[in-house]
C-alpha cells in the first residue's frame, strides 16, 4: 500500500498544492506569532535588564511619596547598602518648539552606580535647570541640544536647557525627558516615586535581611527577583496579544481544514476508478480509507514543515522591520522553542488527517464494480443523507448555542460557536446549493441551450456542485463578515463621535465679546475648511444666566453628523449638558423679550446655549460675537490645527475646545485595529481563494468524457465554453448570495460579541453595499477565471479523443 500512496502522491502532486499551501500558511502563521512573541518577550526582558541590572536590592509597594523619601533615607543608613536611588516619574504639560505636549519625565540616579541612562548626544543633566530628552522625541519635535523647554509646574513654569539626548529602549522606566533625581522634590504633586533601588557592599543577603528589619512596609526584594517580577508584567501585554492573534490563527487553520477536506473530496472523486480497481484486486475498505488518511498525514507533515520554515522567515523579517521602523521597541532575536514548533506541527498534521478522514470514508465505500463501469454514478442516498442532515443539525444547534453564549462577551466561545455552525452549514450544502441553483433556473434558461445545459449540469451531481461551491462559500462568508463587521463598527464609532464632538474646534467666550481679529486670524490658519462666527448675548435661561449664541444655516453646516442639530428649529434651544435645567421647555429672556423654547441637550458645544440665528435676532436687539466654530479640512493634521487655534485663542483669553484631536486619534486607532483584523483574516481568505481555484478547475477536468460527448453530438466549442462559463457563474452567484447572507449573520454576532461592554448600546449592522457588490463581482470573476483554462482545454480536445479518455 505504501507504494500506491507514494506513487499516487507523486502523480497527483499538482492537485495537492492547494491543500499543501493551506496547511503551510496556517502553520506559518502560528509559528510566526510564537517566534515574534518570543522575540518581543526577550526584548522586554533585555529592556528590564538594561534599566534594573545594576540594582542588587529593590523596595517597592510603599504608600505615598513621603514614605519613599523616608525609606530611601533609612536604606542609605542601613549597614551593607552602598548606594541608593529612587526611580521617579512625573507627568505634565511642556511647551516644545512645535507646540504644547503632555510628557513624562523620568529620574537620573544621583549615584553613578545606579544610573542606567547614557547620553547619546551631549551629556546628562547635572544642574537643576538642565534636562535630557529621549532621542526619538527630540527628533520628532525638532529640539536640539541647547534649546530651551518650558514645563508647567505647580509653582509656575520651569524653564530647562536641553543638555543631551538619551537612547531610549521601551522598558518600565522609559520617559520623554529625564531630570536628576534630586530635582523631583521641586515638581511637587506631579512627581510619583516608582521604587527604590540599591547596590550593596557585596553581601546582598545580609543587606537584605538588615533592610527588611529596618523598613516597616513595602516589599524588599533582591534585584534578580524584582527584575523577574518586572519582566512578567512587561510581557503580560505580549501574552494577551499572542492569545488574540492565536484566535485568528485558529480561524485560518479552520478554513485550511475546510479547504483540505474539499480538495480531498474532489481529488478522490477523480480517482474513483483507481480506488475501485484497488478494491477489485483485494484492497479492503479500511485499507483504502487508511491510505487516503496517510496521504493527508504526509501532506500535513510536509506542509507543517514548510510552514515552520516560512513562519520563522516571517518572524525574522518582522523583527528586522520592527527594529528599523520603531527602534525603541525592544525586540530580541526570534526564537523557536520545542512547544512553539511542535504544537503547530501536530495541529497541522492532525487537522489535515482529520480533514482527509471524511472524504476517505466516503471514497472507501466505492463499489469495486466502479472500475468496470466508471461512468455509472452510484449515488448513496437515504442513509448517508439522513446521517448528514442529523450531523448538520447537531453542529448548527451546538454552534448557535455558542454564538448566543458568546454575545455576553466571550470571544472564544462565540468563535467556536461560529465555526461549529459553519460546519453545520457546509454539511447542508449538498441540499442548500442545488436548491438555490434550482431557484435560479429561469435566469439560466435565458441563455439558450448553453444556459439550459449549464443549469442541468450543476444540478445533476449535487455533491460535486456543492464541493465546488463550498470553497467559494467559505471565502465569501469570511470576507463579508470582515467587511460588514468593520463597516458596522466604524459607523458606530463615527456616530458616537458625531454625538459627542459635533464641532471640530471652537473658541467661546462666557462673558466678553470675541475680538474681530481672532476671527480673521482663524480664517488664515492652514488646514481649516470653514470658520463661522456666531453672534450672541447674555440671557436668562430658566433661572440661570447663560451665553446664548445664534447659529444660521451656514454655521450649522459645519457641524458633524447629528441631524437634529443640523435642522435646528426656531422654537428649539440646545443646552450644554452641564446645566441643571430640566423640563421639556424653558423660558429664555433677554431684556424685555422672552420666548418659550423646546429643550434639547447637546455635548461638545462649549458652555453656551445654541438657538437659531432668527430667534436670536428676534430676542436680542444688540449682539456681539460670542463663539467661533471651526471645521478642519479632512486632510488636515489634527495636532497642527489644534495647536494653531490654541495659539490664537489663548492670548485673547478665550476658551478653546473641540473634538478634532479626539476624533482624529480615535479614528486612527480604529483604522489600525481594523487594518490589523482585516490583514489577519486576509490570510484565511487567501487560503479560501486557493481552494476556489482548485476545486473549480478540477471539477471541469473531471468531465472530459461527457464534454466530449456533447461536442460529438454537435455542441460547438464556443457553446461548450459558454456552458462551462455559465455553470461557473451559476455556482459562483449562489455561493456569493449564501456567503453574503451567512457572513452578515456572523458579522452581527461578531460585532456584538467583540464590542460587548465597549459601547452603551450595541452597534447595528451597517451594510457597505459598494464593497458587497465588489465581493459579488470578485466571486463571479474568480469562478470565471478558474474555469477559463480548463474550458479552453475541454473545448480543444477532439471529441473522439475525449470519449475514450480516462
Amino acid at each position: 500500500m505504501r507504494t500506491v500512496i507514494l506513487a499516487s502522491m507523486r502523480t497527483y502532486v499538482r492537485r495537492y498544492v492547494a491543500a499543501l499551501l493551506a496547511i503551510t500558511i496556517a502553520t506559518a502563521f502560528i509559528v510566526a506569532i510564537n517566534a515574534l512573541s518570543a522575540a518581543a518577550r526577550t526584548g522586554a526582558g533585555e529592556a528590564v535588564e538594561q534599566q534594573y541590572g545594576r540594582a542588587d536590592l529593590a523596595i517597592s509597594d510603599l504608600g505615598d511619596p513621603a514614605s519613599y523619601v523616608s525609606t530611601a533615607r533609612q536604606a542609605g543608613a542601613t549597614p551593607g547598602i552602598a548606594a541608593v536611588a529612587t526611580n521617579w516619574e512625573a507627568y505634565g504639560d511642556a511647551r516644545f518648539p512645535d507646540g504644547p505636549q503632555n510628557i513624562s519625565i523620568g529620574s537620573i540616579a544621583t549615584e553613578p552606580d545606579l544610573r542606567w541612562q547614557q547620553a547619546l548626544k551631549g551629556r546628562l543633566p547635572a544642574a537643576p535647570d538642565e534636562i535630557a530628552l529621549s532621542s526619538k522625541r527630540a527628533k520628532e519635535h525638532g529640539v536640539a541640544i541647547g534649546d530651551r523647554l518650558t514645563f508647567e509646574a505647580p509653582g509656575g513654569d520651569r524653564r530647562f536647557i536641553v543638555t543631551g539626548t538619551v537612547d531610549d529602549v521601551d522598558g518600565p522606566l522609559k520617559a520623554t525627558a529625564y531630570l536628576p533625581e534630586s530635582d523631583f522634590a521641586a515638581l511637587g504633586e506631579l512627581a510619583f516615586p516608582r521604587d527604590i533601588v540599591m547596590t550593596t557592599n557585596g553581601d546582598a543577603a545580609a543587606a537584605k535581611a538588615a533592610l527588611t528589619a529596618a523598613v516597616k512596609d513595602g516589599t524588599v526584594s533582591t534585584g534578580t527577583a524584582y527584575q523577574r517580577q518586572l519582566r512578567l508584567s512587561a510581557t503580560q501585554g505580549i501574552d494577551v496579544f499572542q492569545i488574540l492573534i492565536t484566535i485568528f490563527a485558529g480561524v485560518s487553520l479552520f478554513v485550511g481544514a475546510l479547504v483540505i477536506a474539499n480538495t480531498f473530496t474532489i481529488l478522490l472523486a477523480q480517482r474513483a476508478r483507481d480506488l475501485a480497481l484497488l478494491r477489485c484486486v483485494g484492497a479492503m475498505r479500511a485499507q483504502i480509507a487508511r491510505s487516503v488518511v496517510a496521504e493527508g498525514v504526509l501532506i500535513g507533515v510536509l506542509g507543517s514543515a514548510l510552514g515552520v520554515a516560512a513562519g520563522y522567515g516571517v518572524a525574522l523579517i518582522g523583527v528586522a522591520v520592527t527594529r528599523h521602523l520603531s527602534p525603541e521597541t525592544p525586540m530580541g532575536d526570534p526564537s523557536l522553542s520545542l512547544p512553539s514548533v511542535a504544537i503547530p506541527v501536530v495541529l497541522g498534521v492532525l487537522v489535515t488527517a482529520a480533514a482527509a478522514a471524511l472524504p476517505a470514508q466516503r471514497a472507501s465505500a466505492q463499489s469495486p464494480l466502479n472500475a468496470l463501469h466508471p461512468q455509472d454514478v452510484v449515488e448513496l442516498r437515504s442513509r448517508a443523507g439522513a446521517l448528514r442532515l442529523a450531523m448538520a443539525g447537531l453542529f448548527l444547534a451546538g454552534g448557535s448555542g455558542g454564538l448566543l453564549l458568546g454575545l455576553s462577551g466571550s470571544l472564544p466561545v462565540g468563535l467556536a460557536g461560529g465555526m461549529l455552525s459553519f460546519i453545520g452549514v457546509l454539511l447542508l450544502t449538498p441540499v442548500l446549493i442545488p436548491g438555490a441553483i434550482r431557484a435560479l433556473g429561469p435566469v439560466a434558461r435565458r441563455f439558450g441551450l448553453a444556459g439550459r445545459l449549464a443549469h442541468m449540469n450543476s444540478l445533476r451531481n449535487p455533491r460535486r456542485t456543492a464541493a465546488t461551491s463550498t470553497a467559494l462559500l467559505i471565502g465569501v462568508t469570511l470576507i463579508t463578515s470582515v467587511v460588514v463587521g468593520a463597516s458596522s463598527i466604524s459607523h458606530k464609532v463615527n456616530t458616537s463621535l458625531d454625538r459627542n464632538h459635533p464641532i471640530d474646534l471652537m473658541t467661546t467666550s462666557a462673558s466678553a465679546p470675541i475680538p474681530g481679529h481672532v476671527v480673521d486670524e482663524l480664517r488664515d490658519v492652514g488646514g481649516i475648511a470653514k470658520v463661522a462666527a456666531l453672534p450672541g448675548a447674555d440671557a436668562t435661561v430658566g433661572k440661570d444666566t447663560l451665553a446664548l449664541v445664534g447659529a444660521d444655516a451656514d454655521a450649522l453646516s459645519l457641524v458633524h453628523g447629528n441631524a437634529w442639530l443640523h435642522d435646528l428649529k426656531p422654537d428649539e434651544i440646545v443646552l450644554p449638558g452641564s446645566t441643571d435645567i430640566s423640563g421639556d421647555t424653558v423660558t429664555v429672556r433677554i431684556g424685555n423679550q422672552f420666548r418659550e423654547l423646546k429643550v434639547l441637550y447637546g455635548a461638545g458645544l462649549g458652555d453656551v446655549a445654541v438657538i437659531t440665528r432668527a430667534t436670536l435676532d428676534d430676542l436680542a436687539p444688540v449682539t456681539t460675537t460670542r463663539a467661533v466654530w471651526v471645521r478642519a479640512s479632512d486632510s488636515a493634521d489634527a495636532r497642527d490645527v489644534t495647536t494653531a487655534v490654541t495659539a490664537i485663542g489663548r492670548p485673547a483669553d478665550l476658551e478653546v475646545d473641540g473634538g478634532l484631536f479626539d476624533r482624529a486619534y480615535i479614528l486612527k486607532i480604529l483604522s489600525v485595529v481594523l487594518a490589523v483584523t482585516v490583514a489577519l483574516l486576509a490570510i484565511a481568505v487567501l487560503i479560501a481563494l486557493i481552494g476556489v481555484g482548485n476545486t473549480l478547475s478540477l471539477s471541469v477536468l473531471e468531465r472530459v468524457r461527457e464534454n466530449s460527448l456533447l461536442r460529438a453530438l454537435g455542441l460547438g466549442s464556443f457553446g461548450l465554453r459558454s456552458m462551462l462559463a455559465l455553470e461557473a457563474l451559476l455556482m459562483a452567484t449562489v455561493a456569493a448570495i449564501l456567503g453574503v447572507a451567512l457572513g452578515t449573520t456572523y458579522a452581527w454576532f461578531g460585532i456584538r460579541t467583540a464590542t460587548s461592554g465597549v459601547f452603551t448600546s450595541a452597534p447595528d449592522l451597517t451594510m457597505p453595499w459598494g464593497q458587497i457588490g465588489l465581493i459579488f463581482l470578485t466571486a463571479a470573476l474568480a469562478g470565471l477565471a478558474a474555469c477559463v483554462l480548463p474550458a479552453r482545454r475541454a473545448a480543444r480536445i477532439e471529441p473522439a479523443a475525449g470519449l475514450v479518455a480516462d
Binding site: M1, T3, V4, A7, S8, R10, T11, Y12, R273, D274, L277, L278, R279, C280, V281, G282, A283, M284, R285, A286, Q287, P368, L369, A371, L372, P374, D806
Partner: protein, 252 residues
C-alpha cells in the same frame, strides 16, 4: 507443475459451482432479472468462455462468481468457499487470495510501474512475492523489458499482458477475464488470447473469460452460452463456426 500442486483439483475436478443463482436489480415496475436461475460448474484447470449477447447477464454472472457482486439468491461455491454469506471484508480477502482479474480496459493503476502493478495484490495482502514465479510469468508473458514502464508508456497488448501477469501472480484459483481483447486489434487479440491459453495449458490455471466475440471464444476449452439470464447451452472444444451456429440457435 507447481501451479497444479498449489491448487489440487477437487475430487470432481470442479473449480467453482453455481446453483440457482438469481440477481434482481431495482424494484417494482423497473425490476430487471439479470440472472434468472443459473446452474453452472466451472472445471478445474480448463479455459471456459462465457458468451452471450449484450444484456444476457454474462457479466453479472462473472461478477457474482468473482465476488465482485452479491447475488440476490442462490449459491456460489469457489473451491471450498461459499460466497453467498460473506461480508464485504471477507469478499475482499477472497478476491485477494483466490481470484485474479483481467479487465477490458483500465486494468492498471496509471501511477504505478508495470512491476508495481503486477505486485499490487500481494502488496495489498502484505505477502512476499514468490520471485521465481514472478520471473517465470515475466518470461512467459514477455514483459521483461517493460517492467519499469508506466501504463501510458505501454501498448494495449503490453498492458493486457501485464494485467494477465498480475492476475496470475497470486496463483489464484480462478482468473476472470472480462472482454480482455475488447480494446485490441485482431493481431494483438490473438497474442493475448494465446497467452491466456498458455497459462491454462502450461501453468494449469483455471480461467473464465467473458466475451461476445466468437473468434475469442474459440480459444477456450469450453463455451457456456448465456441468454436472458439463463444458461442456454454448452460447447466443448469449440470452433468458431460451431459457436456461430450455437449463437444463431439461441437467437443472438
Amino acid at each position: 507443475m507447481n501451479a497444479v500442486a498449489a491448487h489440487p483439483a477437487t475430487t470432481t475436478g470442479i473449480a467453482a459451482r453455481v446453483t440457482g443463482l438469481t440477481k434482481v436489480y431495482g424494484s417494482g415496475e423497473a425490476q430487471v432479472h439479470a440472472l434468472a436461475g443459473v446452474d453452472l460448474a466451472i472445471e478445474d484447470a480448463r479455459f471456459t468462455a462465457i458468451m452471450g449477447p449484450s444484456g444476457s447477464g454474462k457479466s453479472t454472472l462473472m461478477h457474482c462468481i468473482a465476488g465482485l457482486d452479491q447475488a440476490t439468491s442462490g449459491e456460489v461455491i469457489v473451491g471450498d468457499h461459499s460466497l453467498a454469506t460473506m461480508s464485504d471484508n471477507e469478499l475482499t480477502r477472497f478476491r485477494r487470495h483466490h481470484v485474479g482479474f483481467v479487465f477490458q480496459a483500465f486494468n492498471l493503476l496509471p501511477m504505478l510501474t508495470a512491476k508495481q502493478n503486477m505486485l499490487l495484490p500481494l502488496d495489498l495482502a502484505g505477502r512476499d512475492p514468490d520471485w521465481p514465479w514472478f520471473d517465470e510469468l515475466v518470461d512467459v508473458l514477455a514483459v521483461a523489458d517493460r517492467l519499469s514502464h508506466r501504463p501510458t508508456q505501454l501498448s494495449g497488448g503490453q498492458q493486457q499482458r501485464v494485467a494477465i501477469a498480475r492476475a496470475l501472480m497470486s496463483r489464484p484459483q480462478i482468473v476472470f477475464a472480462d472482454e480482455p481483447t475488447g480494446n485490441l486489434d485482431s493481431g494483438t487479440s490473438g497474442e493475448v488470447l494465446g497467452f491466456l491459453r498458455r497459462s491454462v495449458r502450461e501453468l494449469g490455471q483455471t480461467t473464465v473469460m467473458v466475451t461476445h466475440e466468437p473468434s475469442a471464444a474459440a480459444y477456450a476449452d469450453r463455451v457456456v452460452l448465456i441468454a436472458d439470464g439463463k444458461v442456454a447451452g454448452q460447447l466443448d472444444d469449440p470452433t468458431q463456426d460451431g459457436i456461430l451456429n450455437a449463437l444463431r440457435q439461441i437467437g443472438a
